[in-house]
Every structure is written in C-alpha cells, then in structure tokens.
C-alpha cells in the first residue's frame, strides 16, 4: 500500500482522536476550577470583598457586570471574559492576582476551557448529597472490612502498601485507651493476648464498648464541643451547677443512645411532647454559654452574646459550617447570606434564660422530705388524671416556668426595671402596678408572685382584671422575706382571657420590694375536695422549698411574650433591621423545608434532607481514633476547609452510620477498630515516611499523644490510685495554692476528700477563668467556646507537669510502694513496674538504662539519707530510688502516646 496514504490516515486518526479527547474532557468545577479560585482569587473576589465589583462565591455575581462595566466571565466566551484578559495581561500593574505570582499556564488553560464549556457551577462537595456509588470488594490479600477496601484502593493508587499488624501488646493498649480512655489492666492484657482470632478480638472490643469508662472517655470529646464548664466565665466567674448535663452525656454514650436522638434531646428536649427531667437536662447543652455578672454590664447584651454563641456552636458541631462571619456580613467564601445568620438566630432567640444571676430556667432536683412530697403530688395527679399530667406537674414544680419576666410587663408604674450585672428584677415602690397583656385565664387557678422584701412592713397585692380600676380577681399579703419567694395569689374570674394589673399597696412610706417575675399555675385536674386543697398546699410549699441540685435548661417563652428577631445591622445588636423568621440557610435547605422552632431544626439536622451531619459526626469519631479526620479541618467543611482524603469512604461511613447502623455510635466505632487499617503498626518505614510524611493515606497507624485527661487518668490507673466512682458534682484534685486568684470572688479551690481527689479527669472542676493547670498545658480546652479539635503541642511546660506536678509524683510514689516490698531482685522489680505502666515486657536496653538509674540514685540517697527522707517521708533509700525510677517511667514518650 501507498506509504503516503497510510501516513495521511495516521494523521487523520491522530487529529480525530485529539479532537474527540478535547471534546470529551469536561472540566470539573470542584475538582479543577474551585481550587484555583480559592487559592488565587477569592481573598479579593469573595462574598464580602468583591474588588472591582467581581465576586466568585455566587455564580450570579461571577457572570454579572463588574464595576467598570465589563463582564468578568462570559459563559462560552473566554475571549470576551475580563477575568481571562486580566490573568494573562502583559502589564504587571494590570495582571491578576495583583502583586502575587501569575497563574500557571495550566491553570489559565483550565479556566479558559471551563468558561468555554459554559462556566458551569458546581456545589462544593460538602453541600452535595453523600452517595455510595460503588463499594470496593475486600481484597483477599489484606483487609477485614469495607473500610480497608476503601483504604487499600487509595494506597494502591499512591504506591503505598499497608503496614503489618501492631504487636498485640501495643494493640490492646491502643484499643483500651481509644475506647475507654484508660490503659488495659493486667487481666485485660492476658485475655487479649491469649487468643489472636478475629472473633476474640471482636468480643474484646464489645467488653470495652460496654464498660462504664467508655462513656466517661467519649464524654470528654463531646464536652469540648458543648463548651461544658463549672463556672459562668466572665470576671468573678461564679460557680455554675451543670454537672447533671455532663452525667447525661456520659450515660447517653454508655447506653448507646442513637445520635439522632442525642441531637434532638440536646437541642430541643424541652420542646418534645411532655419532656422528662433527663430531656430537660439534655438541653443544658446550650446553657453552657458564658454569663457576665460584672457590675454595670447590660443583661440583654450578654443574652444576645449567648444566643449568637448558640448559633455558631450549633452550626459548627453538626454542620462544620462557620457562621461567625455571617453575623456581620455575607460569608466571604461560602454561599451564605448575612440575613441567614438571623434566621438561625431566630431559632434560639425565644428562650427564657438571660444574663441574670440565678441562671434560670433551672431544673431542680429534690431529696428527702421534698422529694417525697413531689412524688406524692405526682402520684395523686396520676391517680385523678394521667401519668402524662402528673409529669407535667412535676416539671412545673421543678422548673417554676414559664415565668413572666420583668421585660414582659406591658406597662408599669412606681417601679423600676433593674437589668444590669447580677440584677434583673422590678423594684416596686408603694402603689406600684405591673400590667400583663391579655392572658388566657381559662385554665388558671392562681398566680405566683416571685418577690423579695427587705423592708419590715406588709403590703397588699391585688390583681385586677381589664384595667387599673377593674374588678379584683385575686389578692394576697406580702410579708418581709430575705430571699425570693413565690407567694400564691388565687384567681377567681369568669373571664376566659383578660389583661391583668397587679397593684402593690402598703402603709409604709418607704415601702419597696423586688419582683423577679410571675408564674401562672393551672387548675389541678380534680374536683375541689380535701385532697385537692392539701395538694395545692404541698405544691405551694415545694415552689419555695430547698432543693438538692439544679441544672440550667432551655425553656421557651410562651407565645404571648415571644421575641421578634431582627437582623443586626453589620452585626451590631443595637441597630436592628428587618424582622426574620426561623429558617436554615438556603444552601443547606435542600428540600425547602419550613421551620417553626428548635425542634424542627434539630429533627432536620438528623434527617435525610441534611447532607452534612452524618459526615461531620462520622469524621469527628474517626478523628479521635486516628488522630486526624478524613477531613482534617473537622471544624470546617466549607470552601476553605480541607478536602476529604477519602471522599468515598467518608460518604460510605456517613450513609451507613445514619441508615444501616441507625446512628449507633458504638457500631461506628466498632467497625472502625475492627478494620485492618486501625490495627496497623505505628512503626514508620523510611519509605512510608518519605511518601506520606503526615500519614494522610493511612499506610500505618499514627502515633498520637494522649489527651490531657488520658495522661492524668493513665498515671492514676497504672499506679492504682484511680477511683472508679462515676457521676456527681465536679471534684478538685490537688492543685498548687494561689492558682485561683479571681477578682471579687471568695471561691476557693479545696482539694476533694478521699477518693474524690483521684477521679477521672472528666470530673475535674473546670473554672473558665482559671482552668486546671496541667490540663491546659496538655492542650485541653478552657471551654470558653466550642472546640472541634485540640491541637497537640509538645512543650517543656508539659515535661514539667509530668515530672513535678504532685499528682504525678504521688502516682510514682504509690507505684513504688507497691513494687518495693516484692521479694525479687531490682531488675525484676523494674520489669514488673514497666509491665504495669506499659502493659508489656521491657526490652533489655531499657531495663539496663533504668537499672543504672536505680543504682546511681540508690547510691546517692544512701549518701544523702536526709534527701530520701524529704522525698518520701521515710528513710528507705531503696524506695526513694525506686520512686525516681517510677517517675521516669511515667515520663517516657511511649507512655504519653499510643503506639
């Protein structure tokens, strides 16, 4: 055949192929275009700063007319797009990005082709529905479950291969620390290492997941997100009793409460039908906001600050979406608009809490006689009515809500509203009146005036209907009272609804009382017999009774006193603009759902319509086990956050967790720790270190430093000091004098007695202005704000803690005392101690080092017996030397990390 002809055919084929491939290569916006825009353009052409009138967050801005009348992007026409002209401009004064290196030729080509293809926009990956397209098969050569199949696929692509399985001693320690926060006991190690089968491994994991210490460990993670602390935050930083919430979280983990239920109860437990005490306590999640009782602070200002914090925290915890910027303006990088902050704000703006001194609404817990009385009331109501009604009465007595607050009075006279610092009440002078707008009286039997009166006089309080001169429908007498009390005023009226006027009159000229609010009491559901009267008497008594503990909870205002939410002009709460209704940002509202209140929001977060929650939460748990998440920035899934290293695995986890596993966290964790990926050794080969220095692709286990709580718990556990006691008020372990020097506060750190000084870290009292020092050194959160991940540091201050903090020294001494009496030679003692600390046999090299340390130290103390005496309050020089060795063991790098 003619050579030339063949040549022509070849050329034609090549041309055709090229043409075809050009045609076929569709530029992916998320994969190719967005990274360029984010890196090179968005800091000046974003959602807020739109230099030259050109912004790249919303497509409508990007293709719109810019300030100089030109179009930045003309879909289909790169040659007419000003953006292309400017990134390729010859004049450095004109060329974009200004004062930065130019885009590479490849980047420019991508943008040109993308515009030529129509400049199609694609939602950021996190705002697209998680989908499981194909689940890779588990490979015969490596892998236990689906996780491994996903991981191996990427490893193959990256030219990496999985590491060998960790040795069983390291693995059992890793498992125990990961699942329960505590190191394995000798019995656990023996059990684990006795049988290396997968069946046994799984059974072992089950025992850990069912241990009470499991909930205590995972609660720490959640409490960072919930910004849980035992004090209010600002200035004098008074105590806040909210430990019931911490216990609720521990129990929720231990009972494996499905995460959707866990979500709904914390965000809106109070709005569930006829909530239980536990459901109210769960809502304390959002009562962990800071309060400011400093003299002269405006209570409304700090109530607003709390609501803002609730908005930011909710979006961060469940959606890893940053709302903080949207408080003042539209989001600079993600398509969220300014007013959408306030539609979110509207969900949280209707609760009865405020920046007052009492932290109310509170859920009170009674004990003794009062508890018995409450039970009797509930039993009686249940008998005459229903269990449901009995529960409602229990809630009414325990919360004393919903109260009509001073801010709700429609009008008042001879009275002043004090609403700053630690005051929030009406000062009512003689002849004062307070007006409450039209209230439903059909089911009302009485109202309770919450007041305090120092003046030694009496006053008559009357309730009038309709006007200041209207008919009297109730009256009572006010006696001096040093504390706020609820005084009942029986109401008799035929009116179904009416405005009320409450008047206070006294014969004393200097009369003055403080009014905290008014509570409406419903009619008991029974005929007015003797039992009815005596039950009312008990109820009235309980409303003033002492209680054992209390927990701040969420409680919505009644519709009559509902707050309107208005947009804050540029984030300034004093300048209000348009009124808005509760809603979620358009971007995330995939089904255009309508929202009324927090309960709708909570249900939506864990519904199919939400694409983020399952991913965000699965990522949080993954991050705790592997040291970092599949999305590294677990706090930000938005445009500026990191992209997932294993997007398909993340989506598979999210979908399986929320659907197949029904949001069961234990199943999620179990699946992960059962994987071969998890079980890999942490030994780093030079090859893996070079190819994947940060272990993104998981060809090994990451060596992760233990958390602040784990480090302390572990020292106490291996030395035998750790208390197993669960729940209850926070405790104060040993802390040096003078750490608490908080202004205007007499609160003292008083070391707890007995075993309470040796409880797990999750129970340590956390005062925000002065957190437990050793925890802060090890990167724990001060709990001022929601914290998604702790950044592990490595500092000399940490060394000083584990070397010298009396807590750690005591642990060393305690362990030494246990080892010292054993009738074996010193090397054996050191081996036993090492086994107690690390759960495995000591290597010869390390044993020699420690033996040398022991001998040197012993010789020193023999020569300086008085120093041994000072160290351990005894002249046993061998015990002193052994203590020094134990102290060293607890400072080994391997003790502070999980291998």
């Amino acid at each position: 055949m003619n050579k030339r002809f063949t040549f022509i055919i070849k050329i034609a084929c090549i041309c055709f192929a090229t043409l075809m491939s050009c045609k076929e290569e569709q530029i992916g916006f998320n994969a190719q275009v967005r990274p360029i825009l984010n890196k090179k353009c968005i800091s000046c052409h974003g959602g807020v700063k739109q230099s030259g009138g050109f912004g790249l967050v919303f497509r409508e801005n990007a293709i719109g007319k810019t300030a100089n009348g030109k179009y930045g992007i003309v879909p289909g026409h790169p040659e007419e797009s000003e953006m292309i002209a400017r990134i390729t401009h010859k004049d450095p004064e004109m060329r974009m990005p200004i004062e930065e290196p130019p885009l590479t030729d490849e980047e420019i080509d991508v943008l040109k082709t993308w515009i030529a293809q129509g400049a199609n926009w694609e939602e950021h990956w996190a705002y697209l529905k998680p989908e499981v397209k194909t689940v890779p098969e588990i490979d015969a050569k490596w892998g236990t479950n689906t996780i491994d199949a996903f991981i191996l696929k990427t490893l193959d692509a990256k030219g990496l291969s999985p590491n060998v399985e960790a040795n069983p001693y390291d693995l059992v320690r890793r498992l125990c620390l990961d699942l329960t926060g505590l190191p394995p006991t000798e019995a656990q190690i023996a059990n684990f290492t006795s049988d290396t089968s997968q069946v046994h491994y799984e059974a072992f994991v089950d025992t850990l997941l069912n241990a009470p210490s499991y909930g205590e460990h995972w609660a720490s993670m959640w409490l960072d997100l919930a910004r849980y602390a035992d004090s209010k935050g600002y200035e004098r930083d008074r105590k806040r009793q909210i430990w019931k919430y911490r216990d609720w979280v521990i129990d929720a983990f231990n009972t494996d409460m499905p995460f959707d239920e866990f979500t709904i109860k914390q965000l809106a437990g109070d709005l569930l039908p006829n909530p239980t005490e536990a459901e109210y306590v769960a809502t304390a999640f959002h009562r962990n906001t800071l309060a400011n009782g400093e003299g002269g602070t405006g209570n409304e200002e700090y109530r607003v600050a709390s609501v803002i914090d609730r908005v930011n925290t909710t979006w961060e915890v469940w959606q890893s979406t940053t709302m903080a910027c949207v408080q003042c303006h539209s989001h600079p990088y993600d398509p969220i608009k300014h007013e959408e902050f306030y539609t979110s704000y509207a969900f949280f703006n209707n609760t009865l809490d405020w920046d007052g001194p009492k932290d109310s609404p509170l859920y009170r817990g009674f004990k003794g006689l009062e508890k018995q009385q409450l039970d009797e009331v509930k039993a009686w109501v249940a008998k005459v009515s229903s269990d449901e009604t009995a529960n409602q009465w229990g809630n009414f007595i325990s919360t004393q809500e919903p109260k009509v607050l001073p801010e709700d009075f429609e009008d008042y006279g001879n009275a002043t509203h004090r609403n700053t610092a630690d005051q929030d009440f009406m000062i009512a002078y003689n002849n004062a009146y307070l007006k409450i707008g039209t209230v439903d009286l059909s089911a009302i039997d009485r109202l309770y005036l919450n007041y305090k009166q120092k003046v030694k006089a009496t006053a008559r309080v009357v309730v009038r209907q309709d006007s200041l001169n209207g008919p009297i429908i109730g009256e009572a007498r006010l006696e001096p009272s040093r504390r706020f009390v609820n005084t009942p005023i029986k109401i008799k009226t035929k009116a179904k609804a009416a405005p009320l006027f409450i008047q206070i009159k006294s014969t004393a000229k200097n009369y003055k009382c403080l009014i905290d609010g008014i509570l409406f009491g419903e009619k008991l559901p029974a005929p007015q017999n003797e039992a009815y009267t005596s039950t009312y008497k008990t109820i009235d008594g309980l409303l003033n009774a002492k209680y054992h503990y209390s927990t701040p909870v969420m409680f919505d205002k009644t519709p009559l006193f509902k707050r309107q939410t208005q947009v804050f002009d540029r984030g300034n709460w004093l300048v209000l603009k348009d009124t808005v209704q509760p809603n979620v940002p358009d971007l995330l509202n995939t089904t255009n759902a309508a929202f009324k209140n927090r309960l709708d929001l909570a249900k939506w977060l864990v519904s199919d319509a939400n694409y983020l929650t399952a991913r965000v939460i699965a990522n949080r748990f993954w991050a705790r086990l592997f040291g970092k998440g599949l999305v590294l920035t677990s706090e930000d899934f938005g445009t500026l956050g990191e992209k997932p290293t294993h997007p398909e695995l993340l989506d598979w986890l999210a979908v399986t967790f929320s659907k197949e596993w029904q949001w069961r966290v234990k199943t999620l964790l179990k699946t992960i720790v059962l994987s071969s990926t998890y079980k890999q050794s942490a030994v780093i080969t030079e090859d893996a270190k070079r190819k994947d220095p940060y272990n993104q692709w998981l060809a090994r286990s990451s060596r992760v430093r233990l958390s602040a709580e784990q480090i302390r718990d572990q020292a106490l556990a291996v030395s035998g000091l750790l208390s197993q006691k669960m729940h209850g008020p926070s405790v104060m372990p040993k802390q040096p004098d003078g750490v608490w020097t908080v202004i205007y506060s007499k609160d003292q750190w008083q070391t707890s007695e007995g075993e309470d000084a040796y409880r797990r870290g999750v129970y340590t009292y956390l005062r925000r202005s002065s957190p437990y020092p050793s925890f802060i050194s090890f990167d724990a959160s001060g709990r001022d704000a929601c914290m998604s991940r702790r950044i592990n540091t490595n500092t000399p201050l940490q060394a000083l803690v584990t070397l010298n903090d009396p807590v750690y020294f005591e642990a060393a001494l305690h362990l030494a005392k246990e080892i010292a009496p054993l009738e074996v030679e010193i090397k054996e003692k050191i081996s036993i101690a090492y086994r107690k600390v690390m759960g495995k046999a000591i290597g010869i090299g390390k044993l020699e080092i420690l033996n040398q340390l022991y001998n040197d130290t012993k010789a020193y103390y023999v020569a300086h017996e008085e120093e041994a005496q000072a160290l351990i309050q005894s002249n046993q020089t061998s015990l002193a030397a052994l203590t020094v060795v134990m102290n060293s063991l607890m400072n080994m790098d391997e003790f502070l990390v999980k291998n």
Partner: protein, 491 residues
C-alpha cells in the same frame, strides 16, 4: 517582595524542623534546636504540620524597630482626668448638672439619672521640654516625659472591665481569641530558648477581670499562651523538683528518660519523639533559668532602690524590675497587670481622694525607673513600653443608684482616655490627640484600641493586616477588620 523578605523566606524554606531533625537524628539532644529553626519556632515550639501557617512564614513584614514589648496594664482603668488630661474648664463646671446632650444615647455602667460634673481632684504641672502636663500624683514620672509619647485621645467600644480588657488584649470583647502576646510569639518566637517567649506578671493582689483569658492563646496552639510568673510558690508552676529530688538526681532521671526515648525513636522512627527529647532538655534548663531570673535579689542594691523593689513582695515595683530582667534575657512579650484602679468612690480604697493616691505611689517610681533603666542599658531603643488601662473615666461624678457617693469617684468611660508609650521608635516628649474642654470626647487624632494594636505590631515589623491565622475557615487578625498605625507618634 524586597530582598530582606526574600532572604528570610528562602532560609525558612530550607531550614524546617523536620529537615533539621532528620539531619541530626544521629546526634540527638537537640538542645540548640529552637534557636536554629527560625523565628516562628518559639520557645520549644514547632510548626504544627496540620495547621497551615499563613502570616507567620513571611515575618517580619518590614524592618522592626522593636524586638520586644513590655505592656503595663493598669487593670480597673485609671482616671485620665487626674493623671494626664488636665481640664481647667471642668473645674469651673464642678458640681453642676451634666447636660443631657452628653448623656443621650450613651450607656454607662453605674451612672443613673443626671450626674454632676466633677473637676480634676488633683493639681497638675508642666514638665519637660514640651511642657507636658503631668499630675502631682506622679512626681517621678515628670522627669521622663521627654522619653514618652502621651496619647490623650484613646477610645474603646466596651464599658465593662472584662470585655474591655479582652478587647485591648485580644482585639475582641468576647473570650476565645488569642492575646497580643500570643500573636507576637506565634509570629516572632522567642530570643531565648530557655524561657517562654510570653510571660505575665500580676500585682495588686488580684488577676484582671478578664481572668487568664487575657493572656490565653485562643485558637492558636496552647504553647503560645502567656506563662504566668507567680509571686509565691514556684515562679512557674511545677518548675521545681519535688522536695528531696536534687538537681543531680533530676539530671540522672532525665538522662534515663531521654535514653529510653532514643530507643523508642529507633523502633518507631517518629520525629515527635525527638522533639520530646529536646523539650525535656529545655525543661531541665528552665528549672535553673526561671528561678534565677525571677530572683530580684540578684540585682544590685541601687537598682532595687531605683525601682523600690523588695525581695519577696508581689508588687508592681518588683514586676517592673523583673520585666527588665526578662526582656534583657530575650523574652519577647512581658505583660504586667496591676489591679486596683477602679475608682468609683464607693469607699476610701476606690476613691479619687485616697485610693488613687495610693495606687499612684505604687507605680510612679517603678515605671519611671523602668524607662530610665532600659535607657541606661541601651534597651529602650528596641524595647517598646506601653502603659494604659482598658478605658477611661467620666468627667461626671459617679452617682450609683442616683445617689451621692461617700467619696469622689468616676464611672467607666469609653470615649476618651490616656495611655503612654515609650521606646523602639516611638517619639519622646510628644502628646498625641486632644479631648474637648471637659475631657469627654476625643476631638483630634482619635486613637482606637485596634489602632494601638496595629501600632504595636508595626513596631515589631508586622503588618497587622497581613498577619493572620486561619481558624474555622476564616483568617483572623489581632485587629479584626480594623486598625490604623498611629504614624504621628513614630520617628
């Protein structure tokens, strides 16, 4: 990019910690680590690989004038009207009702109804070459007015102590942001690897209202938080060995710990283990360096006398002397808080008549000595000293609850107050800004708290608009989205 920045960037690209560790992994020890790794690797710190560094890598942005900062924060907010901002006109109005026009739309902490105007409660004189007004309560300070720039037109957004202190120290009135010292050490590191780069000294018997958040690291890694030096017990928590553990024994035990860690490194090949070895070495050195530097008795008698420092006292005088000792050793940011300046007039101790006199006696000599001492050592040229409170006081007399108070006092005031700065390129002998005739508003060259922060960073070679940290998807700055450098006070 200029040559200076170019060179610095190159250096940083080459000398990363990992690179260093890899090269030196056979040598072990790594004691000199911090000083070799580059400026953003502070005191014992290292870059956190998961945390992309944005602003820090290019630091400094320009040639710095200041190498270090001493910030003297008078917690409680001193009265500018009794110390620096002399208002003879206010004297004439003393006792008259405050005009409603001044009160409308304003929020005060305690003033209610119509308060009375209150004239200056002390006499003033003019000192120095520029005839600067200084209160009779500061007889020593008047001798150094030619070394300081006084800013009379400061203003802030917050009228309560805790939020206002947070605004000054962190750029935001709410908790959770890094403090200025944390930002600075994050950006510039420390000059001395044996001491923390950011140290905090407290006097007056109480911590400031903002608590430890005032020197917290916010969203920056915890190693950048201020380290509080304590006046009793360990100068830094846990720096002392347990009783009966001599330095000799500690040395032996550290040797053993490090040898075990080396073995661990050989097994697992994890660079963090190497880093831990160096942290333990540094901790060991700090055990000597910290108590030593915190011991004022190491100073000659005449120096202690100059400051009025006395061994063992938790006084502002001691803290001023310690501040000098710390910056001399290369500590980057020394933050002092002196509590007790909140003169409302509710009692003697919190009155302009008595309490203010007492507080002034406590600070006048030491702060003067600090400037003189830094100057005589040549340290004032590159040490920036800032003095000020978190807001000012009202020209009206406080009338808490609408009643006359037992003593003379003034309420919190956001619109005008005075601070001063000295050293490191700040002009001496000048007064910047002006308030109206009664000291209510700044009427010329107003300076906001964010402007002050921008200026402090500027002197350290940092452009406050470029110095950012990405957190929750947003680039945060100390100055938020505000701040202008106060160019007029810079030489």
């Amino acid at each position: 990019m200029d040559l200076f920045n170019e060179a610095r960037k190159r250096k940083l690209e080459y000398v990363t910690r990992r690179h260093f560790l890899k090269k030196c992994s056979t040598g072990l020890g790594g004691i000199a680590l911090a000083s070799l790794i580059g400026p953003q690797n502070v005191f014992a710190g290292q870059r956190h690989l998961e945390q992309p560094d944005l602003g820090g890598l290019h630091l400094p942005h320009h040639l710095p004038k200041a190498k270090r900062v001493i910030y003297l924060h008078m917690a409680g907010a001193p009265s500018q009207l009794e110390l620096f901002d002399y208002k003879p006109e206010l004297q004439k109005l003393d006792g008259l009702d405050c005009p409603q026009s001044l009160l409308e739309g304003k929020r005060f902490a305690f003033i209610q109804g119509t308060p009375k105007m209150l004239g200056p409660q002390v006499n003033f004189g003019r000192y120095g070459q520029a005839g600067t007004y200084v209160s009779d309560l500061l007889p020593n300070f008047r001798t150094i007015v030619d070394d300081v720039a006084i800013i009379k037109s400061m203003h802030t957004d917050e009228f309560n102590h805790a939020p206002a202190q947070l605004l000054v120290q962190t750029g935001s009135p709410r908790t959770g942001r890094p403090s200025m010292g944390a930002w600075v050490t994050y950006g510039l590191g420390s000059e001395n690897e044996n001491l923390p780069g950011y140290m905090v000294l407290v006097s007056g018997g109480k911590n400031p209202s903002a608590g430890k958040n005032a020197w917290g690291s916010g969203f920056l890694p915890s190693e950048y938080q201020g380290v509080q030096c304590r006046n009793s017990g360990d100068p830094i928590l846990y720096v002392s060995n347990p009783n009966g553990m001599s330095r000799d024994i500690r040395k032996k035990s550290l040797k053993a710990i490090n040898a075990i860690n080396e073995a661990q490194y050989k097994e697992f090949n994890d660079d963090e283990t190497m880093s831990r070895i160096s942290q333990y070495e540094m901790a060991f050195k700090m055990q000597v360096s910290v108590p030593d530097i915190m011991d004022v008795s190491k100073e000659p008698e005449y120096i202690r006398e100059m400051y009025g420092a006395k061994q063992g006292e938790a006084s502002f005088a001691n803290n001023c002397l310690l501040a000098r000792r710390l910056v001399e050793q290369g500590v980057r940011f020394v933050q002092l808080y002196d509590w007790g300046w909140d003169m409302h007039g509710t009692n003697k101790a919190s009155s302009l008549d008595v309490g203010l006199h007492r507080k002034c006696r406590q600070i006048d000599k030491p702060m003067t000595a600090l400037i003189q001492d830094l100057k005589q050592r040549g340290l004032l040229d590159d040490t920036l000293v800032v003095w000020g409170g978190e807001f000012g006081r009202t020209p009206m007399r406080e009338n808490r609850g609408g009643f006359e108070m037992p003593f003379h006092g003034r309420d919190h005031h956001t619109e005008a107050y005075t601070i001063w700065m000295a050293g490191a390129g700040v002009k001496g002998g000048i007064t910047h800004g002006e308030t109206d005739q009664i000291g209510f508003y700044g009427i010329k060259d107003r300076v906001h708290v964010h402007d002050l922060q921008a200026t402090i960073l500027n002197q350290l070679g940092i452009n406050h608009e470029k110095f950012t940290y990405n957190f929750q998807g947003r680039n945060f700055r100390l100055t938020d989205v505000h701040g202008h450098v106060i160019k007029d006070i810079l030489s």
